[in-house]
Point group: C2
């Protein structure tokens, strides 16, 4: 907290987008290692951000997250806008203070969640009207509203309001991409706070020509960072990797690149190989609540009877709190007994696994051995139960 506060204090008077400078420290092929500086501290990249949808990473405390060396947490504008409301979060000192997370936070624009509300939303060129999932009340998001809400929430990184459409519909992707581009211009114009970094988002579905056009357009703005949206939403791994083969190289070298909503260990490896710096996903905490442990070899379903008498930790080589203290048999017992501690221990372990993956990747990039590290990882990675 002290370090964060002093960083905050030191630069608050000269808060410009330069305060979000990205230091590119090493490259290895397309893979990159760097540091993205924010008002709430540095984010070493590549980095995985756990998701705290409702201003809490489910089943873990901020203290436990800090012990895992997590440096960036994502929170969802759509959910927080509906409950408890952005005004309340602002009144209580902003998202960092509200959720007691002193390190960097990223909020999405709310777009992805709103557009996922099939049948409950109506899109036009100005924005989108949608029904609350909580009480059916009618709300409207536009680029200006999304930015205003994100400014009230107060994250370090905020996202442009974009439309994430069906990745396979070419005609619609043209339309939604162009809409996303107009909305980016409006987001940039609407933005007032200078202590937040606005990232633009490249869309275009699975279509290389649209992705190129979008990357060209979005990177024409002098933004502190860039994101790739609309992937890991139903397309194949090959389709995702094909887009990642072309888009990152079109984005500015001196700015961080964020692959939104991704995720699995193999996707992280494939993304880093292709020049991605930032990832986020609900996967580690969601799998945890379903009793699954992530490992470098694949997933373990911890309620499997083969673990009933297993005195080993989830993985021998993991040094997270769960693995240092508890057996597979105990964790299985917690799952069968429907004890909350199961979700807590598995969330800790799964986040630790992804943080370890990005940390090892970062080191391998410094060492110039990332291609080998990635190949080795992907060769060993499979579902083992």
């Amino acid at each position: 907290m002290l370090e964060t506060n002093s960083i905050n204090g030191k630069i608050s008077s000269v808060m410009t987008k330069d305060n979000f400078s990205f230091e590119l420290l090493a490259t290895d092929g397309k893979a990159r290692a760097g540091i993205f500086h924010t008002p709430h501290g540095p984010i070493p990249t590549p980095i995985f951000a756990p998701v705290g949808t409702q201003a809490t990473v489910k089943a873990v405390t901020p203290e436990q997250l800090e012990a895992l060396d997590a440096s960036l947490v994502l929170s969802n504008t759509y959910h927080l806008y509906l409950r408890p409301g952005a005004d309340l979060v602002a009144e209580l000192g902003g998202l960092h203070q509200f959720m007691a997370w002193p390190k960097p936070i990223l909020t999405d624009s709310g777009g992805f969640q709103v557009f996922s509300l099939t049948g409950l939303r109506k899109i036009d060129d100005d924005g989108v009207t949608f029904k609350s999932y909580l009480d059916g009340s009618i709300h409207r998001f536009s680029p200006e509203i999304s930015i205003a809400v994100q400014e009230k929430l107060g994250a370090d990184i905020i996202m442009a309001f974009d439309e994430c459409s069906n990745p396979n519909d070419y005609a619609y992707n043209i339309k939604s991409m162009e809409r996303t581009h107009r909305w980016l211009e409006r987001c940039i114009a609407a933005k007032k706070r200078n202590d937040q970094a606005l990232f633009g988002i490249v869309q275009g579905g699975i279509f290389e020509d649209l992705r190129k056009a979008s990357a060209e357009f979005v990177s024409s703005f002098d933004l502190p960072g860039f994101a790739i949206g609309g992937l890991s939403v139903g397309e194949s791994k090959a389709e995702m990797n094909a887009i990642l083969d072309i888009v990152p190289a079109m984005l500015p070298n001196n700015k961080p690149r964020y692959l939104m909503g991704v995720g699995s260990p193999e996707d992280l490896i494939n993304g880093i190989l292709r020049g991605i710096d930032i990832f986020d996903c609900v996967l580690p905490t969601r799998l945890a609540r379903h009793g699954a442990a992530m490992t470098f070899l694949g997933r373990l379903n911890m309620n499997n009877a083969i673990f009933a008498h297993d005195s080993r930790p989830i993985t021998e080589e993991c040094d997270c709190y769960a693995c240092r203290n508890f057996s597979r048999a105990y964790i299985r017992h917690l799952i069968l007994s429907k004890e909350m501690l199961a979700a807590t221990l598995l969330s800790i372990h799964n986040i630790a696994t992804l943080e370890k993956l990005v940390k090892q990747s970062r080191q391998a990039i410094f060492d110039g051995t990332y291609t080998q590290y990635a190949e080795n990882f992907l060769k060993n990675y499979k579902t083992v139960s």
Copy 2:
């Protein structure tokens, strides 16, 4: 862990019931302050033991419990016998290792839970036959089986198998008290491990003559500690206090006295005033899961709308992790959002509140000001929302 291990190592070769010596350090009226020594470390008394029914104190990690200065945790023999089974716990190194709790543990006998299974159990003088709440399978507990199961679990303090009956039925209480006495003799005869302290239990419902007879009988055995069972099970506070006015004084002065299944802040104060040393209850963690915070002034229902904008901690004077970091408004948001962190933070706070209560009580006993402390506490204690 190191300290516990070294204590363990030092005394393992001379493990007798003397290793469970009780040092009575100070008295103030009937109130007592002491230390009960166990193979897993000292228990400063008076003490409150959080309950970890299924080998986990719900919603908190052992690490969080240790940060709260909890020194004794209770676990339930009935639940662990059915799942995961005492053999499995023994195979995995015993309950301390299984649940990663290096400090003292107490297991109940399973009696209370079995006798609560109205319609699912059949009592005879030898023991009780009952149906599993998990799968309807038929099981039998007897004094010998209860001790054998508790020896497999491996807690520091184990309890005699007793019958806890309706506290208002005089005729039945005679019968169940006498059965409890015979069963105590059988528990003592059955006990094999010498690194566990067996506590005898005084029964007798709300009837002073029966309680006196039971206290006299039970305390005639040279046991390392004594418990009062069958209270806080439906009788009035006045009836409970009336029993507590007579029973503790009949128990040996140089042994700890444990009031089973109690409880609330006012019950702790009333118990300590009457010479009780050890308490346990699910209340702090159960209330937490229902969104209620315990304070020295009474309970707060944290989902109350009056807390929607409240930036204060649950209580200003509490130094628990929840109060150091989070606002009432945030905790209310977590409850409304059905986030697990609500139960975690409130469990931490509620356990902290009871640990603080017993710690302050202990100090007041040393200071000779306990009557005043207790009067002051009870005067201020009420429901404030």
